[in-house]
């Protein structure tokens, strides 16, 4: 109703005025109607929207095996089968794993062992075929896409292998983009992004676009972005795979510092034994099966 009124008002208010004034009024009417439609749709969706689970808290109540440190992630008999036409390719089979809060876990294995697949199931980017995944004590296996998007936004940080920054945004804008989805003022977002970029050692590169940054710098911007909404868990999928050894060390040290200083649970995938040295715990995968754990 309201958008229609705005549109009609914009189109008809100008009658009797100079054509230029009428054109401006019509444009204002069209834009106002468009904005009103967006706001109306947003409000309706908000009211109708499914009731999403509350954001998981660090001190989860259930599912802990370890009394001292509650489980950040719990995986039970997880399986994933990719279907390519009539062919089924098993990628994970009966994987069970518990990651405690504040842990730093490296998932190792050869190429094709299923380590990235496991990370995607835990990062809610993909859905497992069978089994159960709990994040902070909450079963997320059957969560709707909207609920998963919200959980990814609020509680999880994901660092991709290939930097994955938006080329049209500066380093700072890339970092605070996910924060915008949670609301708050633009000033706070910019300040928070600057703090995080300083934390990852890029305080002097805030206004640079991705193409003006090295691979290691881009990966650290991606880490800062993963941190912007203060997630409990950060997933990193082979974060050093495309980096030179110096950049790789810087990225791994950054992740370790976040784990030690901020208490963020870090789960990363690597096939590089040097990266594994930064982990508190090592999980071995082979052909989709968990073959061992090492602390």
């Amino acid at each position: 109703m309201m958008p229609g009124l705005l549109l009609v008002a914009g189109l008809h208010l100008g009658h009797g005025h100079h054509p230029h004034v009428r054109l401006v009024l019509a444009l204002v009417g069209v834009v106002a109607a468009i904005v009103a439609i967006i706001i109306t749709v947003a409000l309706v969706r908000r009211r109708r929207g499914e009731r999403l689970p509350d954001r998981p808290r660090r001190s989860s109540a259930g599912g802990d095996d370890d009394d001292a440190a509650p489980a950040a992630i719990r995986v039970d008999h997880l399986g994933k089968v990719y279907r390519m036409g009539r062919v089924s390719v098993p990628a994970l089979d009966d994987v069970s794993l518990t990651v405690t809060e504040g842990d730093m876990v490296c998932i190792m294995g050869r190429s094709g062992s299923g380590k990235s697949t496991l990370l995607r199931q835990l990062g809610l980017i993909d859905r497992p075929t069978e089994g159960e995944v709990q994040i902070q004590g909450m079963d997320v296996t059957a969560l709707s896409e909207r609920g998963r998007a919200r959980l990814r936004l609020e509680s999880l940080g994901y660092v991709f292998q290939e930097y994955a920054l938006l080329p049209e945004l500066t380093a700072r804008e890339n970092v605070y983009l996910p924060a915008m989805m949670l609301g708050g003022s633009g000033h706070d977002h910019r300040r928070r992004a600057l703090e995080l970029l300083e934390l990852v050692g890029l305080g002097d590169r805030v206004d640079h676009r991705p193409r003006e940054l090295s691979g290691g710098e881009q990966q650290r911007v991606a880490i800062a972005r993963a941190l912007v909404n203060e997630p409990q868990i950060i997933y990193a999928d082979e974060p050093t795979a495309n980096l030179d050894s110096q950049s790789a060390r810087t990225v791994m040290e950054t992740l370790r510092r976040l784990n030690r200083e901020l208490g963020v649970t870090v789960l990363f995938v690597s096939h590089d034994p040097e990266d594994a040295q930064y982990a508190k715990r090592l999980v071995q995968l082979k052909d989709g099966h968990m073959t061992g754990e090492q602390s």
Binding site: L11, P19, A26, L27, I125, R146, R152, E173, P178
Partner: protein, 402 residues
């Protein structure tokens, strides 16, 4: 609201920092489409205005008064004209008495309307006396002189419309025979030929009222019709209402009542205009669709990443719709400026030559605002379809392109 903010943020950054070439070309396309949406209807409106103007200036004036009922003429003319001229909102009034129906020249002969006019008051109401093709206009003292339209005289101009139905070779100072309503035939010297570039008025001929009074004594203080020109800006219906109070038993018709002859022509023009408009809108839709689709294909991985980091699909869709709006609105704005100034000014200086004379562009506000709204709706739909599809792809497929 937060989603809308993210959409605006992504759309603005994408337009400002994206490929300027694509932005410029898309905007240019929208500009051209908007101008093409406006151009033909404006030209048609210009032609309609021209015809309506000629109708008022050379045939009907603003108000035509005739005797109502069975009476064929208006009597006590001088008194009535004097009262009409004193009426508020009336700029001028002139009377016409129909005196003849037939004109011959040599072996050529035709049926034409020959009217007696008061040359001085007629020129205050109609522009015909100023549109001289050859010779000159009638004077008060003109005797045995006739002022004919180009459609009557022909004047040897084989290119004019209806030349074959004219007397074909009549020139100024030639003698023509006029068959009068009283059955007599008299010889008249062609004092001048006028060319209104309007067949409805170019097929007439005029003699002076003083001459008519001598030839047809019954025309004394009588008129077949009175033509009234209203003050600029005056409401014709209000003036008619006032004139109705001056004398009863009269029939009043406005130029709008008498202009139905033009409407049939404009209906055909409007159909052509609508067909071209649909084609232009399809072009706009296809342009926006292709630009958005290619953009989405190129940014498929980025969209997957945006979704993976928690940006909602609705925000991503809205950002592409906003981009389409920005192309459409910038194009419309630039198109409006281009149309309103250089194009309209150029056509004003070098009008299109239509059969009814020079035609300029005339835009109506309804046309312009309607085109803007339609263009924005078309851009929205064209951007919405590919962007909705792009966010329905699984995140993994979007990121890894499988």
């Amino acid at each position: 609201m937060r989603s809308a903010r993210v959409s605006v943020f992504l759309a603005v950054r994408s337009v400002v920092r994206g490929n300027y070439g694509i932005t410029a070309l898309t905007t240019l396309m929208m500009l051209l489409i908007y101008v093409s949406l406006l151009f033909l209807p404006s030209l048609i409106q210009g032609a309609v205005n021209r015809v309506n103007g000629l109708l008022v200036d050379t045939v009907t004036s603003d108000v035509v008064i005739t005797a109502a009922g069975s009476a064929s003429s208006i009597d006590d003319l001088d008194t009535y004209l004097s009262q009409i001229r004193k009426t508020q909102g009336v700029q001028g009034a002139t009377a016409v008495y129909h005196v003849g129906t037939q004109i011959s020249y040599g072996s050529e002969s035709g049926s034409y309307s020959v009217d007696a006019i008061d040359p001085s008051t007629y020129s205050q109401v109609f522009s015909t006396p100023g549109n001289i093709y050859s010779g000159h206009y009638l004077s008060e003292s003109s005797t045995e002189q006739i002022f004919v339209g180009i459609g009557v005289a022909g004047a040897g101009q084989t290119s004019i419309r209806g030349y074959r139905a004219s007397l074909q070779t009549v020139q100024s100072n030639d003698q023509v025979q006029v068959g009068l309503v009283n059955g007599h035939t008299d010889a008249f010297s062609v004092v001048g030929i006028y060319d209104n570039q309007f067949p409805l008025s170019d097929n007439n001929a005029y003699i002076s009222m003083s001459e008519a009074n001598q030839l047809i004594p019954a025309s004394q203080d009588q008129a077949t019709a009175i033509y009234v020109k209203t003050d600029p800006g005056a409401d014709v219906n209000t003036v008619v209402h006032r004139l109705q109070g001056v004398r009863g038993g009269m029939k009043f018709e406005t130029s709008a009542d008498l202009g139905s002859v033009v409407q049939d022509q404009t209906a055909s023009f409007s159909l052509i205009s609508d067909i071209l408009k649909v084609i232009s809108l399809l072009m706009a839709a296809i342009t926006i669709f292709i630009i958005t689709y290619i953009d989405l294909v190129n940014k498929r991985r980025q969209i997957g990443i945006q979704r993976a980091i928690g940006i909602r699909g609705g925000s991503i869709i809205a950002s592409y719709v906003l981009k389409a709006w920005s192309y459409a609105l910038i194009g419309v704005g630039a198109g409006y400026l281009l149309f309103a100034y250089p194009i309209t000014a150029a056509v004003q200086h070098h009008p299109f030559q239509f059969p009814n004379g020079p035609v300029t562009l005339a835009t109506t506000w309804n046309e312009m605002s309607g085109d803007i709204v339609i263009l924005v709706i078309v851009a929205t739909i064209a951007a919405l379809i590919p962007s909705v599809r792009s966010v329905q792809i699984r995140i993994l497929d979007a990121i890894w392109g499988s």
